[in-house]
Structures are given as structure tokens and as C-alpha cells.
């Protein structure tokens, strides 16, 4: 094999409030967990690096948010990995669209691509594992995606980014004199609601049960009212460490026209 040949794939970082305890298996370290967008296999890195100059434009300004909604053993017939299936919160996932764009671009550049529908999933563990234990222990988890990387698989569940494209996270916790505070980033008001909701779900997983689909949202105050309705329901049914989202802040426009809102929460 050529010295420059590497085992490569494009992937996107995954962030979640990872469970502290997981069943036995060869677990991927938290910092290595990702969604594979396009698997390239063993190829010459030098050639690909030349192509990267023409890397397709990335349509999203922030990472995507979603829920790991089920536990899969893949491949179905003879599983050798445990994976969590991703359900996107946005009905039209920009990341799914980008995966198609990326796949087409790679095909056009004569890289061999799998000719099947992309199954968004996160590999969390490799053989040997106990499928029953993994299925039984599974709980839905919120997640968001981060930057896109060209990863080299170094073996032994270690992946090193060789090239990266920064994507702003959908939310980030910030230090504030208030109890809890986040900066929320989005491209539109519906997404701002989704991202704010997920920020709260990262703090309190049970929140996921109370998601309100597609409420009517025209202003920031509408978002705050809906989020507080969810907080109220969550507090009523099982308790919620957050008591209210404050009517605080405005929607600001960043240089790249991304929307930004400082969300603060009373505990």
C-alpha cells in the first residue's frame, strides 16, 4: 500500500449529554463520536487533498439538532456495531441535504460511494457486546452536530481529523450571573425554538417527552411562551430543575446573518 494511503471518511462531530454508564463493549470515546457522512475507505490522501479546494458549499450556518430515538445493531444480519439512530428535529434536515451533495460531489470525483439511502446513526460501540443489554439500557438522548471533518481512521476506535470545516454549534452554555444561560444560534425563528428546546433538553433529558411540534411562532416572546409551557408540563409531571425561561434579550443578527439570542433560565 502507498505510504500516502489512508483509511478516510467525512464525518460530523456529535455532541450529547452522554450517559455516564453504558453496557459493556468496545466503546468509542466521547470525543470520537461522530456521524459518518461519506466513507471513502483506503485512498490516497494527497489526491483527495487537491479536491478539497473545491469542496461543496455547506448550506447550514449552525449544527443540526435531533434525538437518538432507537438503538440499532448494524449491519442488521450480522451486527458488529451498536448504533443510535438519529431523528432530526427539523423536518427538512440541512445535514441530510448536505450528505447528498457531498456524496454526489465525491462520485463525480470518481470516489466509490455506496448506492443506498443514508442512515443517520452514531456508532457507539463495536463487538463484542451484549445486544440485549444495549437495547434494554437505551434511553432517548438529545444531540447536536458540530464541525465537519475529514477523518482518518487510525484503528482501535481512534479517529483523527485531517481537514475541518467549522460549523457554529446550535447553542452554547455561557457564564452569566443568572442561574443558567445559553447563546442560541439559528437560521430562522422555528429553528431558534428547536435549538433553545434542545439546550434545555441537554440540561434535563425528560424534557424530550414534552416537545411541542410546530407551534405558531412569530416573535421571540412566542418562543419563550412555548418553552415555558413545556417547562410547566415537565415540572408538573416529574419535576424540572429549570423553572422558567426569562423574557430576556432580543434576536440579534450576526455578520453571516445567523440569528443569536441570549436565553437565560431561572432555576
Amino acid at each position: 500500500m502507498n505510504e500516502d494511503t489512508k483509511r478516510l471518511f467525512f464525518g460530523v462531530e456529535a455532541h450529547a449529554p452522554w450517559p455516564e454508564k453504558l453496557p459493556v463493549g468496545r466503546l468509542l470515546d466521547e470525543e470520537h463520536r461522530h456521524f459518518t457522512l461519506a466513507f471513502l475507505g483506503n485512498i490516497e490522501y494527497k489526491t483527495l487533498r487537491e479536491h478539497l479546494k473545491d469542496f461543496p458549499a455547506i448550506p447550514m450556518k449552525t449544527g443540526s439538532v435531533g434525538i437518538f430515538d432507537s438503538c440499532l445493531m448494524l449491519p442488521m444480519r450480522h451486527p458488529n456495531v451498536v448504533a443510535w439512530h438519529a431523528h432530526w428535529l427539523d423536518s427538512h434536515s440541512a445535514l441530510e441535504s448536505f450528505q447528498k451533495i457531498l456524496s454526489n460531489w465525491l462520485s463525480e470525483a470518481h470516489y466509490s460511494m455506496e448506492n443506498r439511502e443514508w442512515l443517520p446513526h452514531l456508532t457507539v460501540c463495536r463487538k463484542p457486546f451484549d445486544p440485549h443489554a444495549w437495547k434494554k439500557s437505551f434511553v432517548s438522548l438529545p444531540f447536536y452536530t458540530g464541525s465537519i471533518h475529514l477523518y482518518e481512521s487510525k484503528g482501535n476506535l481512534t479517529y483523527t481529523p485531517l481537514w475541518s470545516h467549522y460549523i457554529r454549534p446550535p447553542f452554547e452554555e455561557i457564564e452569566h450571573t443568572a442561574d443558567i444561560a445559553f447563546n442560541i444560534y439559528a437560521e430562522n425563528i422555528q429553528q431558534l425554538y428547536h435549538h433553545a428546546f434542545m439546550a434545555l433538553a441537554f440540561k434535563h433529558l425528560d424534557f424530550l417527552r414534552f416537545f411541542i411540534q410546530e407551534p405558531s411562532l412569530n416573535t421571540l416572546d412566542d418562543i419563550i411562551i412555548v418553552l415555558n409551557e413545556i417547562v410547566g408540563r415537565a415540572d408538573c409531571e416529574g419535576g424540572c430543575p429549570m423553572k422558567a425561561v426569562s423574557f430576556h434579550g432580543d434576536i440579534n443578527f450576526l455578520e453571516d446573518s445567523t440569528l443569536q439570542w441570549e436565553m437565560i433560565i431561572d432555576v
Binding site: 457564564e175 416572546d221 417547562v231 410547566g232 422558567a244 431561572d266 432555576v267
Partner: protein, 476 residues
């Protein structure tokens, strides 16, 4: 940068400028003012000064820190006729407050091993932590219960066997805010509160037991039944999810009605006191306040029960010293320009501090002034003070130490530490539903309460009566 002008000991003026209707008044000393986090709360003091009908000053106590609209540690009195009432001036946790009781046993006489059993017993009897209440249909509040709570306040719990009639003289406003109307409460609020009476919740709420470490005013302490070395119980909780929902319902309604228009901060949203919306909020707030009085009454009952079980102390012998609200709006009569006037006094993270002869007080406190309870942090101290009825602050004082670090900062600072072992090493045994809460509430997350009460005393708002040293703590 704000230019503060020192006008009296520990008292600074924030000059009136721009749209401010009154100047700001900051109670603090140099140590507290050196705090770099003071800028944002001072901006909030300035915003509050712009509210219609505000009289005197927009006031900040020495434990001031950033809050929702109003700073925490803020006091604002509004003219009943022309002023507004603001949920942000009360806070989400309506009638969050503190009560202090004294156990007639020297703390040092309590056996070490039984102290742990006491702590466990209280932990068992008083639900704490996120969403923890008294689950089960037999404890759920009915509509009739809610109506009685609204009408009777803490007396309702006493009729149900939680405490004694004599307790009422030792509760601010005898444990009932008049004007409560259960019809002003949403179904959602009732659902949130239905099994939460007698539980402390999470956040900074607690039950704390320790020793009366030092007396500063022995005569007043003696009049109240307090001696050096005795065991004290301090309870900090509020109206739980019930109050939060009432605040939220009101905020949503006020926002939709456009009451935030023209205000420097939407969180200050406020309705005219005399408007239908303003009256409805007060009626709902009063229900939540009365719920909170009941909550603390029932928690104290559980603590009394625990002392009876572990130490055979008769419940009646555990004296309630006082119960104060520190998130409330109340109608009070104060002298303005020489004329008595009815005002709506918002105290958010501030405590009423009536002095001697205040007509509302029970006879014992009419002689001494009212007790002012100032919880500090779970490691250093809490303080018992006596109000001086200072008209400059509408007879108000501080409510605690005030945060020095945000919750996130505190969490980060104490990551990877065995918090319980650390506190035990400091002589404080802690039990909690969540170690996260303990991390957020570690002593250094707060200002030094000794410095805060010094400023209050120096400014002439209240005098120190006793320093209380915590030893057994239950957190949410």
C-alpha cells in the same frame, strides 16, 4: 461605569438621570462595591427607577446581584394610585422566604451519631430536590384545600395539625396576605402545586441546623427566647412550582397585553396597580404567598417531628422565632413627604425590617422590632438581625449573602471534588438529592454574609442579634 455618591455610612446615591423618575440608593460598603459584578445589577437599579409611580429611590441591598428585570436584593415602592405592580419585582418564587426556630437543647449536647440520624430523618420527612413532593392522592390538594389556603394562609396548615396557633404571631403578616383570590389561579398552577406543600425543592433552598454561635444583642435575643449555644433550625423555601406558574401566567398575559411597551427591559413588565390586570396579579400573587407560608409551616412540622423522634423534644418546645418573606409585593403605609401614604412595596430578595412600634407586629416584636433573617452559605454562617424601621429603604433590609459566582462557575470550580467529604471536613454534614445542587451551592459561590450584615448595620437598617453556625444541612 456608574458614579455613586456616598451620602451616609454604607449608603450611596445613584444620581437620577435620563428616564429615571427617582435616584437609585445602594446599600453597600467599599468591599462589596469593589465586586466587579456590580455593573449589571446597577443597570437594573437604574431601569427600575424608570417604572411609573416609583417613589423615593430604586433601592439595592448589599446582597444585590443580577435578577430578572429587578435585581435580586431590590426594593421599589410604588404609589398605589399611579404606580405599577411588576411580577419581576417579586420574582418567580413568590414568597420565597426563611423561617427560624429554636430547639431548647444546646447543640453541643446533641450526640454526634444521632445528629446523622436526625439529618436522615428530616431528609426522609421533607422531600427535597427537583420535582420532589409528597406524591400520592391522599396528599394532593383539592380545589377546596386551595381555596382555604388562599383565604387562611398558614392558619390552614395549623388547623390540619401542622404546628400551633402560637406560631402565627411569629410569621410575617400572621402568615396570610389579604386579597388572595383563588379564581385568579390557572389550572396549570394548581396542577404544579398539588403535591408540593411541605417540600423544599431545589436550587438554593435548604433546611439547616446548627448552633447559635454568638450573641450581639443579648437582651433582644433573650426576649425572643434565644441563648448562645442553643440549636437552631433555618428553613428556606417558597411557593415551589405553584408560584412559578402564577408568575409565568402573569408574565405571558402582561406581555400579550403590551405592558412591556416603552420599558427599558421587557422583564420589568408591569401593570397599573389599579388596573384589572394589576389587581388580578396581586390576587394571584397573594394566593402563592399564602401557599408558601403553608409550605414552610409544614416543613417546620416535619422538623419538629424529627426532633421528637430522635431526641424526644416536645414539638411545642421548638419555638418558631420568625418567618419572613423575601420575594413579595405588599401594601404598606409609609410616610411620604410628611404624609402617610399607601404604597405597594416590592421586595425581591429583600426582607421587611420593621422597627419597634410597627403596628402590624405581634406585641413582643412591637417592643424589639421584627426579626430579620439573613441566611448566608452552608459553610460559614447565617445571621439573625432586628429591624430598625428605616424609612429610607421603606423599612427593608437584605435577604442573604448574595451570589458571588454563577451556578456554572461554581460547578466548574468544584468539578472532580468529593463535595460531601469536603464539607464534612469543614464541620458541616450535607445531605442532598443532587450533588450538582451542592456544587452550585458551595460556600464560595456566595459573598461573605458577615460583610453583608455589617453594611446593613452600618446603614442603620437592622442590627445584628446573633450569628448562627450551620452544621447539618439538607439541600435540594
Amino acid at each position: 461605569m456608574f458614579k455613586l455618591e456616598k451620602i451616609k455610612p454604607a449608603t450611596y446615591l445613584l444620581p437620577q438621570e435620563g428616564n429615571m423618575r427617582v435616584p437609585g440608593l445602594i446599600i453597600a460598603n467599599e468591599t462589596l462595591l469593589a465586586d466587579l459584578e456590580i455593573e449589571k445589577p446597577l443597570e437594573q437599579v437604574r431601569n427600575v427607577a424608570q417604572l411609573p409611580g416609583i417613589l423615593g429611590h430604586s433601592i439595592a441591598m448589599p446582597d444585590i446581584h443580577w435578577g430578572y428585570g429587578f435585581p435580586i436584593g431590590g426594593v421599589a415602592a410604588m404609589d398605589e394610585e399611579t404606580g405599577v405592580i411588576s411580577p419581576g419585582g417579586v420574582g418567580y418564587d413568590i414568597n420565597c422566604g426563611v423561617r427560624l426556630a429554636i430547639v431548647p437543647v444546646a447543640f453541643k449536647e446533641l450526640e454526634k451519631s444521632s445528629k446523622t440520624r436526625l439529618l436522615e430523618q428530616i431528609f426522609h420527612l421533607v422531600p427535597s430536590g427537583v420535582g420532589h413532593g409528597h406524591r400520592g392522592a391522599q396528599n394532593a390538594l383539592s380545589d377546596t384545600d386551595y381555596r382555604h389556603i388562599a383565604e387562611q394562609g398558614a392558619a390552614w396548615s395549623i388547623t390540619k395539625g401542622y404546628g400551633f396557633t402560637s406560631d402565627l404571631d411569629h410569621i410575617e403578616s400572621r402568615g396570610v396576605i389579604e386579597g388572595a383570590d383563588i379564581n385568579a389561579i390557572s389550572h396549570e398552577a394548581k396542577l404544579r402545586g398539588k403535591d408540593q406543600l411541605g417540600s423544599i425543592g431545589s436550587g438554593n433552598h435548604f433546611v439547616e441546623i446548627g448552633e447559635v454561635q454568638k450573641l450581639f444583642l443579648p437582651k433582644i435575643a433573650a426576649a425572643w427566647g434565644i441563648e448562645e449555644g442553643l440549636t437552631y433550625v433555618l428553613i428556606h423555601s417558597g411557593s415551589r412550582g405553584f408560584g412559578h406558574q402564577i408568575c409565568q401566567d402573569t408574565l405571558n398575559s402582561f406581555m400579550k397585553q403590551g405592558f412591556a411597551t416603552g420599558l427599558p427591559d421587557r422583564q420589568l413588565v408591569a401593570a397599573p396597580i389599579k388596573s384589572e390586570a394589576g389587581r388580578k396579579y396581586f390576587a394571584a400573587m397573594a394566593v402563592a404567598a399564602n401557599f408558601a407560608f403553608n409550605n414552610r409551616q409544614q416543613i417546620l412540622h416535619a422538623v419538629r417531628k424529627a426532633f421528637q423522634l430522635i431526641y424526644k423534644v416536645t414539638p411545642e418546645d421548638i419555638l418558631l422565632i420568625y418567618d419572613v418573606c423575601h420575594n413579595i409585593a405588599k401594601f404598606e403605609t409609609h410616610v411620604v413627604d410628611g404624609i402617610p401614604k399607601r404604597l405597594c412595596v416590592h421586595r425581591k430578595g429583600a426582607t421587611r425590617a420593621f422597627g419597634p412600634e410597627a403596628p402590624e407586629l405581634a406585641p413582643i416584636f412591637r417592643i424589639t422590632g421584627q426579626p430579620v433573617l439573613v441566611p448566608g452559605d452552608m459553610g460559614r454562617a447565617s445571621h439573625l438581625m432586628v429591624g430598625l424601621g428605616n424609612p429610607l429603604t421603606w423599612c427593608s433590609a437584605c435577604h442573604g449573602a448574595g451570589r458571588a459566582r454563577s451556578r456554572v462557575q461554581s460547578m466548574k470550580a468544584w468539578r472532580n471534588t468529593d463535595l460531601f467529604a469536603h464539607m464534612y471536613g469543614q464541620g458541616v454534614q450535607v445531605m442532598a438529592s443532587s450533588s450538582r445542587t451542592v456544587a452550585e451551592e458551595m460556600p464560595d459561590a456566595y459573598k461573605n454574609v458577615d460583610v453583608v450584615v455589617e453594611a446593613v448595620e452600618e446603614a442603620g437598617l437592622a442590627n445584628k442579634v446573633a450569628r448562627l453556625r450551620p452544621s447539618l444541612v439538607i439541600k435540594g
